[in-house]
């Protein structure tokens, strides 16, 4: 819609504005990034073991008003079934790649989950489905396996592929726009339920 004129002018304005304070671009017009001087003294890896990570994730999810079930690796099907029966779900959508055939499930897997912030991240892989799947229904059931849980935000970003469409979910849809009263459930699902699958060796919850 705009020709090169606007682009050239904005870039020229930037050069004028920076004047002498702009460092010389090592690769003009190319892709070599300038040196990054930012100090990165913040935490980039957590120090919790698998059991404590799941405990923390469960606590943070419940804080947001999520329902959390913990289950042993061999009992995932039972836990999913129980959740759906309790919900009274009759019709559900399932991502094609989830591989939970034989059970009427409405669940998705995740790309990664962040314990410290109570966040699950979906990346649109076949076991998670396209983005509308976890958005339009009123109830979202999500399956998180122990090896998918990390402690911190930087650990999650290191695992994620920026090329995929990512959705970070931290609790159910909510608003505080009217007098700062929190109301759960606006446009996204009003209920978010998470099934946490314990690690293979230690299937006792709450260690």
């Amino acid at each position: 819609v705009t020709g090169p004129a606007a682009r050239d002018e904005v870039l020229a304005r930037i050069r004028t504005a920076l004047g002498d304070s702009a460092p010389a671009d090592p690769d003009p017009g190319g892709h070599a990034p300038p040196a990054d001087p930012a100090p990165r003294a913040y935490r980039t890896s957590g120090d919790l073991g698998a059991g404590l990570l799941l405990d923390l994730l469960a606590e943070r999810l419940r804080d947001y008003g999520c329902t959390v079930r913990r289950t042993a690796p061999g009992e995932v099907m039972t836990a999913v079934g129980e959740a759906l029966i309790r919900r009274g779900a009759h019709r559900i959508v399932v991502p094609s790649g989830l591989g939970l055939t034989g059970l009427p499930t409405g669940t998705e897997a995740v790309a990664v989950a962040i314990a410290e912030t109570g966040t699950i991240v979906l990346d649109g892989s076949p076991d998670q489905g396209r983005r509308a799947l976890s958005l339009v229904p009123d109830y979202h059931l999500c399956l998180v396996r122990a090896h998918q849980v990390v402690g911190l935000v930087p650990e999650a970003l290191a695992r994620l592929d920026p090329g995929r469409p990512l959705t970070w979910i931290s609790g159910p849809s909510a608003t505080s726009d009217i007098e700062l009263d929190r109301v759960q459930g606006v446009h996204g699902p009003r209920t978010l339920e998470v099934i946490l699958v314990e690690p293979e060796q230690a299937s006792q919850p709450g260690t």
Partner: protein, 489 residues
């Protein structure tokens, strides 16, 4: 307009960066509104407490702030490089990048893009930048209706009102007012609607669902854009953002050029700083990240509009450019004793509060928002709260100086303030003149009562209109010293 190095500022007559009246006049009206002051007091206190609690949880908060500051400063020094890198990454992933020199050009680009789809309505994610450029007005002139889908923005839009807070734009409305607006403006609303927040939220959900499911064009802003990968990031709470970003065929994102960040790992920092500073949550309910077009999932046509509109003029001011580091969290609003009492409308711009007082005058040119750098007590609470450590108090002082200098240059006849300052400088330059002036000031004691002067005669009444002046003391310090010490050192 006065410009730095000949770089144009945001044009007049379009968008919402300038108020109709100076801050003190608008603030006086706001202060008279007791309902507004009650709402603001409650809201700012609540968010302040939530923010303090979640910030205290992180042992490395200060390290994150320092990293955020350094990344932003580095980005500004290399802005041209990172914008062209972003452009090539978005293009490589199937998106189209447009450049807009100002609000008028951005509005034209977006309007033309919507027209090309044939759509008569669009759904919008909450976006301050589209409010800055007055996009909804421009679309309306082209016969296109824009649905604001964030609950607060919907309340503001239906109430034919202006946003008053960056995070909670309808903070000046209470539940009874919102119910009245919905009953009046929503054709499909239940006439028995109550004023509980849950019922009002449900009414908005139903009102917007049809728009979401039928919309062919979505319009958003952006919290971050990663140059390295071409990834756009939008944080939100309600799910309206996800609806607008995934359901329509065409997505148009408008972002200020300062929102670019260099690398994917920079989100390490900003995905921690922003939610905790903004809503006071460990993480906001929903964040969407997308890169160009994903076949079979979400919009199949993606346009990114890169907007200047005065930002390069701010960049030209080596001190002032810090204001471009802002990530729009609104923490500075919630801690500001001035904002807490006046609310956002008094600032006249879509960017209110301390950050608005340093950003708006730079985008428009200082003379168009000359009262804003003075709309502060310089207490420094905003600097402490800022997640990217913008030194707002120093910027305010810097912009006051720029205002004085630009005014002096523009007017041959000296301003009353300049005359007063010149006179003060002449008096203070000589010990004899200073002593005489202090003796003369003692006449002012006649005006004082209880150590205070409540009203001075004109032109000094300008000072006492908003504050008391201390009555001059009976004796000066030098007189007291002579009396006590008899002239000994």
């Amino acid at each position: 307009l006065t410009t730095f190095l000949g770089i144009p500022t945001a044009p007049r007559g379009v968008g919402h960066l300038r108020g109709d009246e100076p801050f003190p006049v608008a603030a006086r009206k706001a202060l008279a509104n007791t309902q507004l002051r009650r709402n603001l007091g409650k809201a700012t206190a609540t968010i302040r407490a939530k923010r303090a609690a979640v910030v205290a949880e992180l042992p490395d908060w200060e390290e994150l702030r320092e990293a955020g500051r350094a990344i932003k400063a580095h980005t500004m020094r290399n802005l041209g490089h990172y914008l062209t890198e972003l452009e090539s990454q978005v293009t490589a992933r199937g998106g189209t990048v447009h450049w807009a020199r100002d609000a008028i050009e951005a509005n034209r680009i977006v309007t033309d893009l919507v027209r090309a789809t044939g759509a008569a309505e669009v759904v919008k994610v909450k976006s301050i930048v589209t409010d800055e450029i007055g996009l909804n007005d421009a679309l309306a002139q082209a016969g296109i209706h824009a649905y604001e889908t964030d609950l607060a923005e919907l309340i503001v839009q239906l109430g034919k009102d202006r946003p008053s807070h960056i995070l909670v734009p309808a903070i000046h409305r209470n539940r009874a007012e919102i119910r009245d607006i919905f009953l009046r403006e929503m054709s499909d609303v239940d006439p028995g609607l109550t004023d509980t927040p849950a019922a009002l939220t449900e009414a908005a959900r139903l009102h917007l669902r049809r728009a979401f499911l039928s919309a062919r064009v979505g319009i958003s802003g952006a919290n971050f854009a990663v140059a390295e990968t071409g990834t756009l990031v939008v944080l939100e709470s309600e799910g309206n953002g996800r609806m607008c970003l995934t359901l329509p065929d065409t997505l148009i994102t408008v972002m200020g050029i300062e929102k670019v960040v260099p690398a994917w790992r920079d989100l390490d920092v900003f995905m921690q700083l922003l939610p905790r500073s903004s809503t006071g949550e460990r993480m906001n309910p929903y964040t969407s990240m997308w890169t160009g077009v994903t076949p079979g999932d979400g919009p199949q046509s993606f346009h990114l509009v890169l907007l200047d509109n005065g930002r390069t003029a701010a960049l030209a001011d080596e001190t002032g450019r810090q204001a471009l580091h802002c990530i729009r969290c609104s923490a500075c609003l919630n801690v500001c004793p001035v904002y807490e009492r006046t609310g956002g409308h008094a600032y006249g711009s879509v960017y209110p509060g301390p950050i608005g007082a340093v950003l708006s005058p730079q985008l428009t040119g200082v003379e168009d928002n000359a009262s804003l750098p003075y709309a502060s007590t310089l207490c420094g609470a905003c600097y402490d709260a800022c997640p990217v450590k913008i030194d707002i108090p120093s910027l305010l002082v810097h912009l006051r100086a720029r205002h004085v200098e630009e005014t002096a240059r523009a007017h041959r006849v000296a301003s009353p303030e300049a005359v007063t300052m010149a006179a003060a400088s002449w008096v203070m330059a000589s010990p004899a003149r200073w002593a005489a002036a202090q003796r003369a000031s003692r006449l002012g004691r006649a005006l004082g009562r209880g150590g205070r002067i409540r009203r001075l005669p004109p032109p000094l009444s300008a000072w006492t209109a908003a504050r008391d002046a201390p009555a001059p003391p009976r004796q000066t310090f030098r007189e007291w010293w002579r009396e006590e010490r008899g002239g000994r050192p």
